[in-house]
Assembly symmetry: C2
Homo-oligomer: 277 residues x 2
C-alpha cells in the first residue's frame, strides 16, 4: 500500500552510538538533522538505530545495515579520545579490517593540538595514546576534516557501499557533514526531487478522514499522504496532512501534488471540516 | 571495558514507527522519554530502532529484537485508523499470529466514539472499517486503555518475552505507559537501582581527562563514567562527566559514586582545571 518510490532512491541508514541516547538523557537530534538533510538531497533514509557504547552492539548494527544492502551507512558518536569511544573499532570489526594509524588524520589532529597549545587551551603537546587513538582508522579509510573539534570524520568504501563516521557533538557533526560529506553524497545520489505540501484539517476526526486520504492516494499514485493528529482546540479536532512525492521529473509531480491538495480540501469540506494549507 | 551490569537487568528495546522520523520532520522524543522512564525504573534499554510505515520493515525490526532475546519490546506509533498505521499488522506477522477483532478493545473504542458524538465532535456513530481496524489485535493480545485518544495500546505475551504497542501521539503514549503499562513493567523488573552524579570539568581537554576517567573507573568497577564535551566558553573547554551505577544494594553504591566524584574532582584540579558538581 505504501507508494514511496523507494527502489529508485539511494538508501541510507543512520546508526547513532551513545549510552546517553539509551538512558534518555539526550534526545537524538543528530539523527533527525541528518535524516532531514539526506531527504532534502533526494536520499531515502530507511532506518535509524541507536546503540550503546558497546563494541559488539556497534559492530552488529553496522553488519546488519550492510547485509540489508543499504548504500550509505552514517554513524554518529564515539569518535573521541576516551575508552568508551569505540565506533571505529566496531566498524572495523564489522568489515573485518584492522585499525591503523592514518597519517593524514594524525596530521589533522596534530594541527588542532598545536593551535590549542598556542592559544593556551592545552597545557602539553604530548601525543598520548588517547590522542593518537583518534587517528587510528580502519584500513583504507579517508579522514574528513573537522573544523570545529578535534576528532576527524571517517569515510570508508566497502565494495559498492559507503560507511561515514561522524562525531556526536552536533556542531562537529554538522560541520563535517556540510563541508566534507555532502558533496560526496550528492554525487552518489540518483537525481530525484522531493515535493512536499501540508494541509491542516479542522473539525474532522482521523477515522472519518481515512477513506478520503485513501481515495486521493489511489488517484495520484506518486503522492504519499500521512496524517498527524494534533489533538483538539476548543473541542475541534486538528489533523495535519503531510503530502510528499519523490520523482525525477519535478514539474509533473508539483502539478500532481497541487491537485491532490485541492481534492483533499474539497473532501475535508464535504466532511464538514475546514482546511488550510 | 564497559562495566554496566547489563546481564543483571531486564532488557528493553524501543521500536518507533513512522516515516516522519526517517525524513527528519519529527525528532524522536517518544523514544527518549520511554528510555528515561524505563531506566529510572531499573530497566536496561539496549537498542532504539526507527522504521518507516512499511509492513516488512516493522515486522523485521520486531523479529530481530525477539531473536536478540530482549525481554520487553515497546513500539510507538502506527496504531491509528489510516491505511499506513500498520504496526499491529507488522507485529502479528513477526510472531506469526493473525489479527482478530478484540471485544474489549472494540468496547473501548465504541465508548470513545459515543463520548465524541455526544459532545458534537463526531458527526456519525457509524463503525467504519477504519474505526474497526483499531480493535483488530494479534490473537491473545490485551488492550491497554487510552484515556487521551481513541486507539488502545496493546500488550502481547510471546513466551517469556513481552511486546507492548503504544500510539505515536506523545500525550497518548505517556498516558498508557504511566497508567497501564508501567505497573506491569515494574513487576517484571529485577529490583535494581540506578545512582547518578554529574561533574562539570572546566579548563581540561577531553584527551587529557581520559586517563583520569580510566583510573577512577578501574578503582570503582560499579561506576560507569561517560564524558560529554560541551564546547568552550571564552577559550576554556567544558566537559560534563556523567557517573552512573546500577545495583541491587543502593547504599553501598551511593558511597562508591560519592568517592568516585571526589577522586575525579581531585584529578581535574591536578590537571589544572576546575570541577563543580
Amino acid at each position: 500500500m505504501v507508494r514511496m518510490v523507494q527502489h529508485k532512491q539511494t538508501t541510507f541508514e543512520i546508526i547513532s552510538v551513545g549510552n546517553e541516547l539509551l538512558i534518555g538523557k539526550v534526545v537524538n537530534t543528530n539523527a533527525s538533522w541528518l535524516a532531514k538533510r539526506i531527504t532534502e538531497m533526494g536520499g531515502f533514509v530507511r532506518r535509524i538505530t541507536d546503540v550503546r557504547d558497546d563494541l559488539s552492539e556497534i559492530s552488529s548494527a553496522v553488519k546488519e545495515a550492510l547485509r540489508r544492502g543499504t548504500e550509505w551507512i552514517i554513524t554518529s558518536g564515539g569518535l573521541g579520545p576516551t575508552f568508551d569511544d569505540m565506533t571505529l573499532n566496531g566498524v572495523a570489526k564489522a568489515i573485518k579490517r584492522s585499525l591503523k594509524l592514518n597519517r593524514q588524520a594524525y596530521q589533522m589532529i596534530l594541527e588542532k593540538y598545536k593551535e590549542m597549545f598556542e592559544r593556551g587551551i592545552l597545557k602539553s603537546l604530548e601525543i598520548t595514546p588517547e590522542r593518537r587513538k583518534m587517528a587510528e582508522l580502519p584500513a583504507g579509510a579517508v579522514p574528513l576534516r573537522n573544523r570545529v573539534g578535534t576528532a576527524p570524520g571517517v569515510l570508508i568504501k566497502f565494495g559498492r557501499q559507503r560507511i561515514a563516521c561522524l562525531p556526536g557533538v552536533p556542531a562537529e557533526l554538522m560541520d563535517i557533514f556540510e563541508n566534507e560529506l555532502s558533496p560526496i553524497i550528492r554525487k552518489s545520489i540518483k537525481q530525484v526531487r522531493v515535493v512536499e505540501a501540508t494541509v491542516i484539517a479542522r473539525g474532522v476526526v482521523e477515522s472519518a478522514l481515512a477513506p478520503a486520504i485513501k481515495d486521493v492516494m489511489s488517484k495520484y499514485p506518486s503522492v504519499y499522504i500521512k496524517s498527524h493528529p494534533k489533538g483538539r482546540e476548543s473541542g475541534v479536532s486538528i489533523i495535519e496532512l503531510h503530502l510528499t512525492a519523490t520523482t525525477p521529473s519535478q514539474e509533473k509531480v508539483e502539478e500532481e501534488v497541487g491537485r491532490a491538495v485541492q481534492e483533499l480540501k474539497e473532501k475535508i469540506a464535504a466532511l464538514g471540516g475546514t482546511a488550510e494549507q
